[in-house]
Symmetry: C2
Subunit: 358 residues, 2 copies
């Protein structure tokens, strides 16, 4: 482990026999430097193993090339795709994404925003719309583009792309009800604001269809896991053996419910229908495959990133659409497919999508 200082611009400049500015230019705008010098400088860079100090560069240029992204979880497969979509867009523009995982805590989110703003990101991309007043204040003061994603709000900080989780919850129940189910259970995690919205949608639908949800809802404050799905559904089954369908606030819980049915010899979908949420990859692979409410998580990440990019690197104009509703899609599969239906693959119930402008 050599302890010698890392090479700086000046080091490269001396070695190449030019001034530091020229080195800076040779690196950032090669076309502005004569070929002769450029070559000498490239050699010096290589031989010294010079790597520009991003911090100094950011400080001097007021361009940090950093965008802050805050997610509530990584354990959940949802955010992988979402993050990947964001990174893909930014990596092409040489923008570094600073990701912070706040584990579904608004308090941690507030702290994370504070910390991230210390890096002077050129924009911030957030999940959800439930930031604290303090967080909103800090973000507004920062004077940078802010995108709230994966959920919708009437009062966005800046840009907003997402869907109504309440509507999605409603639609899931509506779908199950149309299949003839009456005793529709719901498994949900209360730590997640969006799951709460789905729960609200579930309840709204149950009420609307005159169905009772008594004893049919299992709620956990913990992070969702497959194991937990089994336990929660076991609770419901023990309480209300006549349950004939279950809508889960995410696919992990749904898979757990499926396993619990397998364990108990409950036939899916004949005895019981299951619908999950998010449409993660494994839904299509299980036996029977799990029906699930899919969201446009990749599109949402992409939109957020692309709009940010357009604002900070493009015309600087705000997009016309300041709010987009990406809707959702019910992917109907074997876990909820009535026997008489015989659709080959993954038929889709038309999206509930409606764009709103801001």
């Amino acid at each position: 482990m050599t302890r010698k200082q890392r090479a700086t611009l000046s080091d490269v400049a001396s070695k190449a026999g030019v001034s530091p500015v020229t080195v800076s230019r040779a690196i950032r705008h090669p076309e502005m430097v004569s070929e002769k010098l450029r070559e000498r400088i490239d050699n010096a860079v290589r031989s010294l193993g010079y790597i520009p100090n991003h911090l100094a560069s950011a400080l001097a240029s007021h361009r940090t090339n950093i965008v802050g992204v805050i997610v509530p979880s990584l354990t959940n497969g949802v955010f992988d795709d979402y993050l990947a979509a964001i990174q893909d867009v930014f990596s092409l523009a040489n923008i570094q994404v600073l990701v912070t995982n706040v584990r579904y805590s608004a308090e941690k989110e507030e702290k994370a925003i504070n910390t991230l703003l210390g890096y002077h990101p050129e924009a911030m991309i957030l999940v959800g719309v439930d930031q604290t007043e303090n967080s909103r204040q800090m973000l507004t003061n920062a004077g940078i583009p802010v995108v709230q994603t994966l959920d919708l709000t009437d009062n966005p900080i800046d840009l907003n792309i997402g869907l109504s989780h309440d509507a999605a919850g409603f639609a899931a129940v509506e779908y199950l009800h149309k299949q003839g189910h009456e005793s529709i259970a719901h498994l949900t995690a209360r730590g997640d604001p969006r799951s709460q919205q789905r729960h609200a949608g579930y309840q709204r639908a149950m009420d609307a269809f005159g169905l009772s949800s008594k004893g049919l809802v299992a709620l956990t404050p913990r992070i969702s896991t497959v194991q937990l799905g089994r336990r929660l559904f076991a609770e419901v089954l023990d309480r209300q053996p006549k349950v004939d369908a279950v809508f889960c606030c995410n696919d992990d819980l749904a898979l757990g419910a499926l396993f619990e049915c397998q364990q108990r010899g409950i036939r899916v979908p004949e005895d019981l229908a299951i619908v999950g949420f998010n449409d993660l990859e494994f839904c299509a692979a299980s036996v029977p495959p799990l029906s699930s409410v899919g969201t446009e998580r990749i599109q949402m990440g992409k939109w957020a990133a692309q709009n940010v990019l357009e604002i900070i690197r493009g015309s600087g104009q705000r997009p016309e659409m300041r709010q987009v509703n990406t809707g959702f899609t019910i992917h109907e599969r074997g876990s909820s497919m009535p026997a008489h239906k015989n659709v080959p693959d993954t038929p889709e119930i038309p999206k509930n999508k409606a764009s709103a402008t801001g």
Copy 2:
């Protein structure tokens, strides 16, 4: 969106009627400033919404409070736990973790290392030991602690914690062989160097026990998914119907294999035993629960972070152990449990663990 400049240290200083240095101190070492001033300064900070510029601070102090972490994937549940463990350690020390996902590409890894070093991280934590020569060079030149994790090498860049995936692969096969299985298949992803090692261990064991692996190995260049596990195992089943066990290079593939068996009416474990790798959460929840080779991913992340912290913030001494083998544990569950065994929960086959010093 206010476009006014963000407040600086000087702004706060003027507002509070003190010099900038004092503000700096009031923020970093409150005990060095008189109570009266500290209060005045705190008020000024609050009323201006001042957030220190981390970049300037890092540049001036030569402390970036940044640690770079490179992971090959986020889709895989393994890295969530691992990352969370790392973040937990560093967040207490107010160190920001800069994560880059390189999607199992050594080339991307090289680029990521270059980029991250531009932020002058105080340490780097990597996954695996297969960095390019160039990468190794850059890391060495950087003169910071480097930890290679999740795998072992005879020639570490600096610190190293992990396990022998070859040994783990061997042990999985050995275990299955001891259960009386002879026709042991293997599903594997060739994009991942550690999976390749497990594959090598599998092959080594098959050879050692005089078993033929002909037609029993299914290999994919793609990212593992449950769906893919089904497809790969389907291939094997179609080729070699007499297969009586399968060792999968990760749990996603194993779950897929289980589903494929369910689909085909193959009884697990009676007709066929399944063993996965990583022991993700869902393994214990499936029906039957999946046996899996568990690794100490959380411990590895924690060790890496703690040692880094000790070096950069503590005594500066290198730990005595420069290399640690965390071994692995075969979690024997229903998917491979012979009928006559009747152990209640998750019995463990003793760890293959042996620490080496460096």
